[in-house]
């Protein structure tokens, strides 16, 4: 069974702090996406990474894809209350089982 494990499950920090959340698997992914979901809404795509070692930046968010394409991290600098939400990673597997797998998410709460 292919799994995407996200850690931590929950994180509550003060505004202005930095944080990193992780997405790990034993599977190799052809691509990996990060989404943010707010209550009552569907997930919104933040970024997709494709190449091992790739780093992408989106304002204060930095996304990295592991060299072996099995893991990824999301680093937020100077967190803001607007960053609050459920962060989901999803990986595309293209082998005998062609699937997109979602992690269970990291619930982030930024305290003003």
């Amino acid at each position: 069974t292919q799994l995407l494990e996200q850690s931590p499950q929950f994180l509550s920090i003060q505004e202005g702090e930095n944080l990193t959340v992780y997405c790990n698997s034993s599977s190799v992914f052809s691509s990996l996406q990060w989404y943010r979901q707010e209550p009552g809404e569907g997930p919104v795509l933040l970024v997709t990474v494709v190449t091992g070692g790739e780093v992408k930046k989106l304002k204060r968010l930095t996304f990295q894809f592991g060299d072996a394409r099995k893991d990824s991290s999301l680093h937020i600098t100077a967190a803001q209350p607007g960053d609050t939400g459920l962060y989901l990673c999803a990986g595309g597997v293209r082998d005998r089982d062609d699937k997109i797998i979602f992690g269970k998410g990291t619930r982030l709460h930024i305290l003003p």
């Binding site: 996200q6 052809s30 691509s31 996406q33 989404y35 009552g40 809404e41 569907g42 997930p43 919104v44 795509l45 997709t48 459920l86 989901l88 999803a90 595309g92 062609d98 699937k99 997109i100 797998i101 979602f102 992690g103 269970k104 998410g105 619930r107």
Partner: protein
């Protein structure tokens, strides 16, 4: 609109009733996905269409769940004889073309189903 739309946004059904949930994907998107999401959890895959062909339905939890996309655009997820454990948010997503390598998905707002 330019995004994925779903209707209804909220549905309350009595146990045993049948329900139908609709998804309008982004125009031109070939791939369409249905997910079930429990409160505070990540989406769980239900089924996937490429145009009108249902390529993967391995996530459907029982034969009470049925999905179709007859013309390769709008899709309907039908749940027969609803049970309380069916209560969840049902998310629809579309992508340009999964088989061509487009893994990025664009989600609708979801339908919250409550079975009483």
């Amino acid at each position: 609109g330019a995004g994925v739309s779903q209707s209804p946004r909220y549905k309350v059904a009595k146990r045993g009733q049948d329900v139908a949930l609709r998804c309008d994907p982004i125009s031109g998107h070939v791939s369409l996905f249905w997910y079930q999401q429990a409160l505070g959890q990540g989406p769980e895959f239900l089924t996937y269409f490429q145009n009108e062909a249902q390529l993967d339905k391995s996530g459907l939890p029982s034969d009470r769940f049925f999905a179709e996309r007859p013309e390769g655009s709008v899709s309907t997820l039908k749940i027969q004889r609803t049970q309380q454990e069916d209560s969840a948010v049902y998310l629809c997503a579309s992508s340009w073309d999964r088989l061509a390598g487009a893994d990025e998905q664009y989600f609708g707002p979801g339908t919250r189903l409550t079975v009483t």
